[in-house]
C-alpha cells in the first residue's frame, strides 16, 4: 500500500479490493458496544480542511477516533491561511508538530498531490477541487459489494453534474478498475467534452438508467444555477431527476445511491431517497469504515 491516498488512480485493483475487505472488517468493529480499537494509539492526524465540510470531516474524525488516533482539526476559518500564509508554509508548520497523517480537503484540484510530495506524513485526499474524492469512491464500492456481492459486472449509472464532480471522477476509475460498466448521465453542459475512456455517455436519463444495477445520483450545486448549465432546477428535475416513475426503468433490485447532502426534489425525489432501494444512509456508515481502513492501511 502506498504512503498516501491522493488519487484512486494510484492504487491497484488488488489494493482497492484489500481496502474494501478491510473496511468490511472495520464495519464489524463499528457494530460493537465499544467501537474504539487501539490500532493507531499514539499517532496523530491533522484534518486540514480548506473548504467547509461537515459530513466528510465528521466521518473522518469519527474514523480516526475509532482507531485511537489523536485528532487535530485545522479549519481554514481559524487558520493563518486567511492571513495570507502560503499553502506550503501552512503544511510545513503542521508537519513540524510531528504528525503522522494529514487529511486534506481543498477547493483546488491537485493540492493533496502537491502536499504529499512535501511532507513525510501520510496524506489522505478528502476531496480536491473538481478532481477526486477517493474515499467516497471506496465507500460506494463497499456499499455495492455488500449489497450486490461484488462490483464486477455491475451496470452503474452516475447521474447529474459529472463535470464538476470529484465523486464521479474517483468513482469512474474505481468502478472500472473493479470491473463494473459505467454510464455517465446528465445534461451535455455538465458532462466533460472529453469523457474518460471506456464510459458510456447518455443525455437521456431514461436510456441512461435502463437496466442499471446502481443509480448513483450526484448533488447539483445550486450555485451553478444562473451560469447557463441548465435553465432551472425544475427543468433539471424533469429531465435528469430521479423520480419513482423513472426508477422502475432500472433493474428491479437497483440500488439508489447519493453521496449527500441531497437536494430533495431537485436531483432526487423525496420518496425515492427514502425508498427500500435507497442505501444512502448505509453509504454514510460505510464511509467511516472505509476511512478507518484507508488510514490503517497506508504505510
Amino acid at each position: 500500500m502506498p504512503k498516501d491516498l491522493v488519487s484512486i488512480k494510484d492504487i491497484s485493483k488488488e489494493e482497492t479490493e484489500a481496502l474494501i475487505d478491510t473496511a468490511l472488517s472495520f464495519k464489524a468493529v463499528l457494530r460493537r458496544d465499544i467501537k474504539k480499537v487501539p490500532a493507531l494509539r499514539g499517532k496523530t492526524v491533522v484534518n486540514l480542511f480548506f473548504e467547509p465540510s461537515t459530513r466528510t470531516k465528521t466521518s473522518f474524525e469519527l474514523a480516526e477516533k475509532r482507531l485511537s488516533l489523536d485528532v487535530i482539526n485545522f479549519a481554514v476559518s481559524s487558520s493563518s491561511v486567511v492571513k495570507g500564509e502560503s499553502l506550503l508554509d501552512t503544511v510545513r508548520t503542521i508537519e513540524s508538530y510531528g504528525i503522522d497523517y494529514l487529511v486534506i480537503r481543498h477547493p483546488s484540484s491537485g493540492v493533496p498531490h502537491f502536499i504529499a510530495k512535501q511532507t513525510h506524513a501520510s496524506v489522505v485526499n478528502a476531496g480536491d477541487g473538481i478532481n477526486e474524492h477517493p474515499t467516497q469512491a471506496l465507500l460506494d464500492a463497499v456499499t455495492m459489494k455488500e449489497r450486490k456481492g461484488g462490483v464486477k459486472g455491475l451496470e452503474v449509472a452516475i447521474v447529474g453534474d459529472i463535470l464538476h464532480s470529484r465523486v464521479a471522477r474517483s468513482n469512474v476509475d474505481c468502478l472500472m478498475k473493479l470491473g463494473a460498466s459505467v454510464r455517465l448521465v446528465g445534461p451535455p453542459t455538465l458532462i466533460p467534452l472529453n469523457p474518460p475512456a471506456g464510459v458510456k455517455v447518455y443525455y437521456d436519463m431514461d436510456d441512461g438508467i435502463r437496466g442499471a444495477d446502481v443509480v448513483m445520483m450526484l448533488r447539483i450545486q445550486l450555485e451553478r444555477q444562473g451560469k447557463s448549465f441548465f435553465p432551472s432546477t425544475k427543468e433539471f428535475f424533469k429531465y435528469w431527476g430521479l423520480s419513482a416513475e423513472r426508477l422502475v426503468l432500472a433493474d428491479k433490485d437497483a440500488l439508489v445511491m447519493h453521496p449527500g447532502p441531497m437536494n430533495r426534489g431537485i436531483e432526487i425525489a423525496s420518496d425515492v431517497a427514502d425508498c427500500p432501494q435507497s442505501v444512502i444512509l448505509e453509504q454514510v456508515t460505510n464511509g467511516i469504515a472505509v476511512r478507518m481502513a484507508v488510514i490503517y492501511m497506508l504505510q
Binding site: M1, A18, T22, S25, F26, A28, V29, R32, D33, I34, K36, V37, P38, A39, L40, K43, L67, A293, Y296, M297, Q299
Partner: protein, 178 residues
Amino acid sequence: MMNKELLNKQDIERILSRIAHEIMEKNKGPEKLCLVGIQRGGVHIAHRLSARIDMIEHVSVPVGSLDISLYRDDISRRKKLPIVRKTDIPFDISEKVIVLVDDVLFTGRSIRAALDALMDFGRPAQIQLAVLIDRGHRELPIRADYVGKNIPTARNENIEVQLEEESAEEKVVLISGE
C-alpha cells in the same frame, strides 16, 4: 532451512481430546463456558475443542473468533500489513468463563492483545488460556492453563501448525532458520 515434524495428525487429535477433558474437569462442566479462538489457527482449534466437549458432555459450547491485529503493539514496526480478519463473537461474554484458544504460545504479546480485545466486548467472569504448543521465550507474565505440548525452541526457530481446515496435511513442524 530444516524442517522437523514434531506432531502428526493423530498426536494432535489425542492432545485436543485431553485438553477438552481438562477444560471440563477444571470448570466442573460446560455451563457458562465459551471458547474464543484467535485468528487464524486458534479458531479451528476452538471449534474442534467445542466438538469434543459436545461428544463428551453432549452440550454445545459456543465458539467465537477474535482478530487481534488492531490490538497489536507492533503497528509502527510492521513491514507487511496485518490483514484484519473477522472477529465474530456471537454471544455476550459478560460473566462467562472464556477459554481463549491459540495454536502457539510464544512471547505472550498476542495473548496480551487478545485479552485487551476481549475486554472491549464485555466483562467475563474469568479468562483461561489453551494452547496447542508452548514454545517458551515469554516476554510478558502470561502462562497457559492448558498446554498441548511444551516444545523447547531456539529464538530463531519457528513452529508451524498446519491444520486440515487450512487444507494442509495436518502436522506441527519445527523450522530451523539459517
